[in-house]
């Protein structure tokens, strides 16, 4: 991690955004969007996670690429597990 010190304003802004997004995701759950409820919930969750990873965990300010490679690799293999497993389950009754 670099010795770049994130400005206080940035941290507070991210914090407030996270709280707002939490409220939004809870509120949107009461609105009927059909199958898109799940999509919206996951998109919001991903935005929140990105904010935490990039700012709070400093990945945006990391001086070298290696940390970003580690994060992306972990996500890639997770999606592999989820995706290829679901490939079986969603095609079983076809």
């Amino acid at each position: 991690m670099s010795e770049h010190i994130v400005p206080l304003k940035t941290n507070v802004a991210v914090w407030l955004t996270l709280l707002v997004l939490t409220g939004v995701t809870a509120g949107v759950a009461f609105i009927d969007l059909g199958p898109f409820n799940t999509v919206v919930a996951l998109v919001i969750a991903t935005c929140k996670a990105l904010l935490v990873v990039l700012v709070f965990m400093h990945v945006k300010y990391a001086s070298e690429k290696l940390i970003k490679v580690v994060v992306i690799s972990a996500l890639f293999f997770l999606l592999l597990l989820l995706g290829l497993s679901l490939a079986d389950y969603t095609t079983r009754l076809l």
Binding site: S73, L80, L81, L84, A87, D88, T91, L94
Partner: protein, 544 residues
């Protein structure tokens, strides 16, 4: 010369400190490697003992040595011990721990105390496993398939599951240590392209250990919870899906086989150039193929489930991906062969093991392609064909690589030479014993003999007898090195720093190395496998 040491011994990592505390509380990666060596050899004996009992039972068609339930325990515990307590740690924990810092010019691994913790986790897991075996054992097969393991088996599934869970963390920590070490602790001038390919192989192995092992860890947690609380996550009578367990289990256990083979490939890649006096052919290809094996290895797991009930479409995808994963392995075989072409070959013991590896791994790999073909798999799955396939890779491949590596680096580790003619003789015994044990099993499987059965139709007896005969020869082949390695520690010829004339930083320091590995931090300005500029051992040999 076979005399014991008369002259005062230079201080090295072995004699720097004496006493059991200095070993059990060591943070020296070389000592930890030896702690692992002793432990995994112990478990190899245990796994081998179960194997011999299996082969004894299978001498006759009738189930007359043990009861069926006992036989289930034998093959289960043979598999669990060999996979989790021998093969997965073997090369990384022994040779990797010893050599990774030396090969990159570092003083130790990045996290020496975590390295020791890794060994202690392995020991705790091992003790738990031993206790489990001694108090009734497990009979689910090493694969723990549900719902038998979660709802019906009357054996110590929870204990075995917990033991493997703990051993998994040992594996994860070793992998973590290697990745950080290789990224952060290379000596000046040791760029990625100058790294020994042994290091690339261990880097790739470590990636698999890091990303795959947690999945089986959490799966075992779920199995233990299901068994203890009667949940239903994997039980079809309670709304669960047994295939979910298999997906989660094989997501790790297929890449696990690459954990078992990649380090051996790394060993072979060090041995072949040395005993061909030639630089490795296609360095970049070998390095990249190691990474490719690690990544592609995660894409193929459901080929273990072709007949289990997965959808036809996903079976097609996994079959195609399984063909793909063979390509980087094949590339390596071509590279090793091309290295030997027009080389100056010496048939020393490590090279004999390397030859054995290349031939037997190729056979095992090709038969894997048979299994990847859906149609053939329907015929041979769950038969001795599969057993022969994976033993060709794990025994003919991985264990041969391990033995070759042990012989190659024994002078560095112990400061002594093992007796060369005995070494060659044992390699031959291993090769012959191995083929006699496992080749008949290809035929048996193709003819229809199922795996995990304790009795079989009489027409299969001849092949089974051949296989059992082979296993006793193989056992002799394995015992001999243990005996002469121990013998050599007291009576073996003193080893010079570089008895083989090999390339690599580990050969520039003394045999055995001092605790801090190097007198001065090496500065590297030469390429790897620089065999044009390294004198052959005849010129370099030091008397006594």
């Amino acid at each position: 010369m076979a005399t014991a040491v008369i002259a005062p011994e230079r201080e090295n990592y072995l004699n720097q400190e004496y006493g059991i505390k200095s070993w059990l509380l060591t943070v020296d990666h070389k000592r930890i490697a030896l702690l692992y060596l002793v432990s995994i050899t112990f478990f190899f004996f245990i796994g081998g003992f179960f194997a011999l009992l299996i082969r004894l039972e299978l001498l006759t068609p009738a189930g007359d040595l043990v009861q069926a339930d006992t036989y289930n325990k034998l093959f289960t515990m043979h598999g669990q011990v060999m996979v989790f307590f021998f093969l997965i740690p073997s090369i990384p924990a022994v040779l990797g721990n010893f050599l990774v810092p030396l090969m990159i010019g570092a003083r130790d691994l990045a996290f020496p105390r975590i390295n020791l913790l890794s060994w202690y986790l392995y020991i705790i897991a091992g003790i738990l496993m031993l206790h489990c075996m001694l108090t009734g054992g497990v009979d689910t097969g090493w694969t723990f398939y549900t719902p038998f393991s979660t709802a019906f088996s009357n054996t110590k599934v929870i204990e075995a599951g917990l033991a493997i869970f703990i051993s998994g963390f040992s594996s994860i920590l070793t992998g973590l240590n290697f990745v950080v070490t290789i990224h952060r602790m290379r000596a000046p001038g040791m760029t990625w392209n100058r790294l020994p390919l042994f290091i690339w192989a261990h880097y790739a192995t470590s990636i698999i250990q890091l990303l795959g092992t947690p999945v089986i860890a959490v799966t075992l947690v779920l199995v233990v919870l299901e068994r203890a609380l009667h949940l239903g996550i994997f039980d079809p009578t309670r709304g669960g899906d047994p295939l979910l367990f298999q997906h989660l289990f094989w997501f790790y256990s297929h890449p696990a086989v690459y954990i078992m083979i990649l380090p051996s490939m790394g060993v072979v890649t060090e041995i072949v150039p040395c005993f061909s006096r030639k630089r490795i052919f296609g360095y970049n290809f070998v390095a990249m193929s190691s990474i490719a094996i690690a990544v592609f290895g995660f894409l193929v797991w459901a080929h273990h489930m072709f007949v289990a009930g997965i959808s036809l479409y996903s079976a097609l995808i996994f079959s195609a991906l399984s063909y793909l994963v063979a390509v980087p392995s094949a590339i390596k075989v071509f590279n090793w062969t091309a290295t030997m072409y027009k080389g100056s070959i010496r048939f020393s013991t490590p090279m004999l093991y390397a030859f054995g590896f290349i031939g037997l791994f190729t056979m095992g790999g090709l038969t894997g392609l048979f299994l990847a073909a859906l149609g053939i798999d329907v015929h041979v799955t769950d038969t001795y064909f599969v057993i022969a396939h994976f033993h060709y890779i794990m025994v003919g491949g991985a264990v041969m690589g391990y033995l070759g590596g042990m012989h190659f680096w024994w002078p560095k580790i112990s400061g002594r030479m093992y007796p060369e003619s005995l070494g060659r003789f044992s390699a031959l015994i291993v090769f012959l014993g191995f083929n006699l044990t496992f080749f008949p099993q290809f035929i048996l499987g193709y003819l229809g003999m199922p795996r995990r059965y304790w009795q079989y139709p009489p027409e299969f007896q001849v092949l089974n007898v051949l296989s059992t005969a082979g296993s006793t020869i193989l056992a002799v082949g394995y015992l001999l090195p243990m005996v002469y390695f121990l013998w050599s520690m007291r009576y073996g010829k003193l080893a010079p720093a570089n008895p083989w004339g090999a390339s690599g930083l580990e050969w520039t320091t003394t045999s055995p190395p001092p605790t801090f590995n190097f007198e001065h931090t090496p500065v590297v300005d030469w390429e790897a496998y620089d065999y044009e500029n390294i004198p052959a051992p005849e010129e370099a040999r030091v008397a006594g």
